[in-house]
């Protein structure tokens, strides 16, 4: 699906402290209109109500909302499931409204979903992003995603997409990977506080 362009257009920026942003897991029907409004106004692809509900009802634990003083400023919607013998997470929609971009809210939202996916036994996470969406590509790049494929004219507007993939370390390979890295691995795992990579 899509991720909103993250480029910093010279728009008026909201004044806020990062600590003022409150992250909430999807909590029920009252959150749905908030998510829909955000996605509807920021992304080009129109999604039916079935699409939203498909995600948030089946995987409420993978959807998060970001609030600033009671106002919803960002959201992430995901799913996970079996795909060709792999248990795979999928990031369907990621939106942060313009005045709040560039401050790590999207990274925090998506990192929270990814963390749940990892804990739920996912082997990898995938998503699609427009090749022109430099901001989103950089964001996912920092989180460890690679561009696995280019999808020719993926979107109806004729733009190509990248299929981005994040492979989690296999538990049985862990001892080897950290041969040289010592005990630093513990720091890699995102905790509530340290996953905001801005």
């Amino acid at each position: 699906m899509e991720s909103k362009k993250m480029e910093e257009e010279e728009e008026e920026k909201a004044e806020f402290e990062e600590s003022e942003i409150e992250y909430v897991s999807y909590g029920g029907e009252h959150h749905l209109p908030l998510i829909m409004r955000l996605v509807d106004q920021e992304l080009s692809e129109p999604y039916s109500i079935f699409t939203y509900r498909y995600f948030v009802y089946l995987w409420p634990q993978l959807s998060f909302l970001a609030f600033h003083r009671g106002k919803c400023v960002g959201t992430v919607v995901c799913k996970m499931g079996e795909h060709r013998n792999t248990f795979r997470g999928y990031i369907a929609m990621l939106v942060v409204i313009k005045p709040y971009r560039g401050r790590g809210i999207a990274t925090e939202l998506v990192a929270r979903s990814i963390k749940v996916m990892m804990e739920s036994g996912c082997e990898e996470v995938t998503l699609e992003a427009e090749v022109t969406n430099k901001g989103a590509l950089a964001l996912y790049g920092r989180l460890g995603f690679i561009r696995a494929k280019r999808l020719f004219r993926y979107y109806l507007n004729g733009v190509d997409a990248f299929r981005l993939k994040l492979l989690f370390p296999r538990p049985d390979l862990l001892p080897f990977i950290h041969k040289d890295e010592g005990q630093r691995h513990a720091d890699y795992l995102p905790s509530e506080k340290c996953c905001g990579l801005h």
Partner: protein, 729 residues
Amino acid sequence: MEEPKVADDQTFLGVPLPERTSVPSGDNTIWADVSPLLDSACKDLEDGELIHGDNFNLFAAMSALEIMDPKMDSGIVCTYYSVDEAIENGAAPIPISSDKSVDVRCTIDIIDHLLACEATWHKGHSLAQTVFSCIYLLRPDRTSSHTLLHSFCRVIRATCKSVISVVSDARTHEEEDLFTMTYGLPLNGDGDDKCLTMLNAVEETICRQLRACKAPSSKRRVIEDIEPLQTKLELEEGYCKALLCRLRFRKHFYHVLACLRRPQGRGLELARKHIAFCISELESALASSEFLRSIFFGACKDGTEDKTTASGCQPIGFDASLNCRLSAPTPPRAIKILSWKKAVEYFMKLLRDIDIICSCSLVPSLESVLRFVVQFQKSQPDLVARAHLQCLLVKDGKLYGQDPVFAIITKAAALPEATKNHDIQKNEFIVQLGQLVLNLLKILCTNGAWQRRKLGKIIQDWRVIYMQLELAFKKEFGDSTVSNEENICVKIFQHILLWVEEQTYWIASRFLILGFELELYSPSEYCMVYWYIYVVLIKLAEKTHLKTAVTNGTGKRKGKKKRDTLKDVGKDNRIPPAVLFLQCQIYLAEGLAMMLAALRNEGMMLQSRSPFNTEHERFIQHFDLLQKACIPDHVSYPSFNESTIYARLSNLVMYNYFKDAQRIAKEVKSSFSNDPDKLAELRRLEQVAEHNSVALNIICRLGALDSSLKISFEFNHHPYFATAVVKRS
């Protein structure tokens, strides 16, 4: 409706049943009105709950349309309900205007808009929403009274048909399946096949009209019986010229397509002539746009850049929404038609790409075909050109429709000419190998994104066929005492095995290199990518070298005239140029991998640490397909890690790979003096080597002292060998 099985008590789940309907119930069944049941069931549903089958998946959810939402329900933005209604409402009048001058002007607009539609179609939209948004095309017989428009509509339909046929035959359109969807469209107008006859007649008439209006008044009397094209005398010449170049373009373009479809590339030469005409007619059309603009706007006016006609006017007789609700499947979204200028640019590029195809030498050598296709793909040709190339290359299971694939393989494997008829070609694995070769050629004609994915998959097939051939070989000729006849078989097997390996590494290198073109690698991954290219190229060079050595051995004995190897007789000890060429690339790839590793190891390039995985996972993901096929053997993340972890700038300066690359590029040039493509490539490689060599020295000298030094990698000299750029921030 299904008849539910119910008890006899005239209630169903507590809901009283109404009177029976006219269809009688069976012994154990009874009709029931389910409305009350549904009503009560609905009351039990919470907000947001949905009753669905097991197969309700994401695709089903996303395919759902919300009726009356203009973003999804394309039907509600329609002006007309049917073509007939549109025509009745005067959306596509014939004649377009009773004023002959206006009629001609409008016809030119229709012609131009059709060109824009056609280009938009070629670029990946549906035929129904582009070309066949023209109401005139949708009713083939209706235009017959308007000779000019009628001839045009015919040639457009016939051209579309021809293009669809080549794209369907090529089947390069795996991801572009919208292209060939024609369901319900009138592609076969009566007499469309004779469109050229009619077009020629119209052209002849307009030629005479042009001559008549240009003739001096004294002569005019003689040709007075010629009725002018339209009523405004001062515009006659301009209109005639504008129409003629458009008509002639269509004629020659139709010829181009026909010539390309001739078997065994026999029409290529003629096609080039028509291509030249097409280009010059398009240039004339471009030149006519000033005249056309001036009629409508009076003076030359800007702002026609994004218009779909040369005049800048809105054309009459188009309605893209008609097909949305009628016949052909169309995506439920409005599309943007390319501007006329962009359409002309598109056709210019298409013609140039087709011209490259026509320059194909038709030499039955796989190596030269592969090089030709790779070179052709560099200009990123669109679907129609790629489809034509594929149809030319692979036809009836033969190269160019004439050279049997086994003959191509024996030649590529450097076997003597005589072996091409050997019975061994009936071996099932040899037959399979032939299929793989043809398949490879087809894949190389597809778009870059698709091509890379397919190449990644077929690497496995090539690996498997190698093992199968090897097994078959051992099974048949396991013992060393062989007869003379078998001796030839042994040789064929040995050569083919070696060649299959070489070809497999070639595919692997192409797979890796395409990743750059598709922008699949981020700078932090360049190090591992160059390292992998380096290990693959080493194997490729090794196999190529071995093949040449084996050939030299046989070549001398046979004394074949045409063999390249003959040239090398007497200089056997020297490394063949093809291998040196690879060696140059090997040094570059190794140099870049080591330089990137050293910069990383010495903390001069920022490496972001992912919170969720490590470089190891990214390595696995990028090279998974190669690793699964053991390409090359014994190569994995640990070997990458070991060879790069100790890289230091100081060592690199002492042993400078770029200098070696530069030296070889210089030396080997003379061997390719009659090969301009290779020479150009060598010059590019030399430049990259030179720049990187200098950059390496600078970084080494200043790096430790100057922490403000910023190093980035750019592709300004070569499409996939990066050049280091050093800047002070």
